[in-house]
Amino acid sequence: MSDYNMQILICGGTGCKASESEEIRNVFNDLLGEYLLEDEVQVVTTGCFGFCEKGPIIKVLPDNTFYVHVTPADVDEIIREHLVKGRQVERLLYRDPHSHEVIHDSKGMDFYKKQIRIALRNCGFIDPENIEEYIARDGYLALGRCLSEMTPEGVIDEIKKSGLRGRGGAGFPTGLKWEITSRSVADQKYVVCNADEGDPGAFMDRSILEGDPHSVIEAMTICGYCIGADKGLVYIRAEYPLAIQRLKVALDQARAYGLLGRNILGSTFGFDIELRYGAGAFVCGEETALIHSMEGSRGEPTVKPPFPAESGYLGKPTNVNNVETFANIPVIINKGAAWFSAIGTEKSKGTKVFALAGKINNVGLIEVPMGTTLREVVFDIGGGIKGGKKFKSVQTGGPSGGMLTTASLDTPIDYENLQAAGTMMGSGGMIVMDEDDCMVAIAKYYLEFTLEESCGKCTPCRIGNKRLFEILEKITAGNGKEEDIDKLRMLSHVIKDASLCGLGQSSPNPVLSTLAHFEDEYLAHIKQGRCPAGKCKALLKYVVVEDKCTGCTLCFRTCPVGAITGERRAPHFIDQALCIKCGICFEKCKFDAIELA
């Protein structure tokens, strides 16, 4: 084994790197040589610790000492005191922000971990195609307890007490939904898992199904026991082939082990699950549309009531829950409602999984307690903005949501706070934008998506959104008028008020939200014909700076449409009528002689 007695881990995450972690490493290497310790102490650069705000961060092994805000000047002291004499450098230790106590021991070393994995507890730990690995980590134990030690009412009560709310978007209390469905009287009921996951950029549910399919199967079975259903259906988009395959394998194994089928675990309760494939229409994630799609009809929403809990699949009482909602259930039963409800904020309990994407360093899947701030998500866990650019906003709630800006950075994330900030929790897509993103273009992007996905049943949604889109197109093309802003607002409110389903009712949100926070950007497009982020092509103008142009003819030769003319060794000229704003000349010019006007 290795000859090193100690190891120094230096965070090489982008945030820490920006603040000298590389320099720190170099100083370590030099000084360790001087102290003749290079054969005993190994210096390693690691990935991000998720605590960038306190960077640069250093961890010393084997004693797990965690130093924050380290500078190259501190290295000598760390070596002399800690490595040589075995005494921690007190002033560099992390101080608990509340108690102001210094954290010495390796047991208290979790303070920098901002995530808790409940729904993702098994993702990345078990082989999803091996049921025994799931069982080894308390899999199906919750189901066993429910069937042999608890009544359906008792289970529902526990879920209600836990405070779990739906993770599919609306945040309806899960226990209450189960109770309502359990009270509906019918000869047949159904449990449906909504695995449609249509938000662009979201992949939480896919990851859970790919990494831990049994947790969803177990929870659906528990739900069946509670509401009195013996049949479950997973509605999953056909674009998720790996999730489908893992689910199929898991279902077969659960059946083989007697965990699905008749008389589960020796009880009188029987349950089985089938898969239904969706074609990937966003509106089919809406529960009534989803049910119609499963019935073989067009995936169009219908008026609620009746709610699925009264009349759902084939007219029978149906309980629809999201994948992540289900994934929380076994843990609530095993660890108890009190344990679960201790996590989170007053009205939003537990955790939320987010798919962190966009202009952020650590793109990935995260699970944070409700009440975590946006700043912690973006700057600690997410490692900050790519390329050291400026943070502009975060889009949550997908095409139904809105923007959170710097003003919301310190707002604890939960259902109520997001709503108050003019967006919504949604299913968990979180797209981070920087100074180079044009907010008008973003609103247009989401509307384009909604336009494609509207089922067309309601006029305001079908035609209203089209008109909204056209106005945005006009503005981004530089042909906007000031009164367009009022038109956008008015039309948005009409669409929200007069659409049948959540898609139409929320489709103008990206427009309203960008208008609320970034009206100045709209106005810059309209009044000055300028796109502040430099994104809207039609408003860009590439021009030659005559003083700098050497007449090398490189731009002339690379322009794909022949928009550039000029003699060798004389300033060139760009014909704006021909220019397609591809920016190749701008990139290629060696003399910075082409400017964005």
Partner: protein, 131 residues
């Protein structure tokens, strides 16, 4: 497979599975037994996790390293796919990111064989439900 027919039965199976894992960890060859998990969700596979996994299998076999190599789901570090977790006997699991063939070779030669740490390990940045 015999069906599990009661809660007690389920608990027994759980213990059996757990002791099977323990046994593997404590067996005569356990001193050398290396456990490797490759993140094989869509994101991992799209970044080449399958090739990484087959390379790890070939190379550990080739070098006669006693290793159990399994697939697992998404570890959440999508920016660093493919991700691989290595557990050396008696040590905490370590996660490596961006594991292509070259990185996989480095992990085997330096971490698994010599026990040295390697640049680019990913620190675990979340708590589990048991903490």
């Amino acid at each position: 497979m015999e069906k599990i027919t009661s809660l007690a039965d389920l608990k027994r199976i759980k213990e059996q599975v757990q002791s099977k894992i323990k046994l593997r960890e404590q067996s005569a060859s356990a001193e050398k037994l290396v456990q490797i998990r490759v993140g094989m969700a869509t994101c991992g596979i799209a970044s080449g996790a399958k090739e990484t996994m087959s390379f790890l299998i070939e190379e550990t076999e080739h070098q006669a390293i006693d290793a159990v190599i399994t697939q697992t789901g998404c570890m959440g570090y999508c920016y660093a796919e493919p991700t691989v977790e290595v557990t050396l006997p008696g040590r905490q699991p370590v996660i490596f990111g961006h594991v292509n063939r070259e990185r996989a070779r480095e992990i085997i030669d330096r971490y698994i064989i010599k026990g040295e740490l390697i640049d680019g390990m990913i620190p675990v940045n979340f708590k589990t439900i048991d903490e």
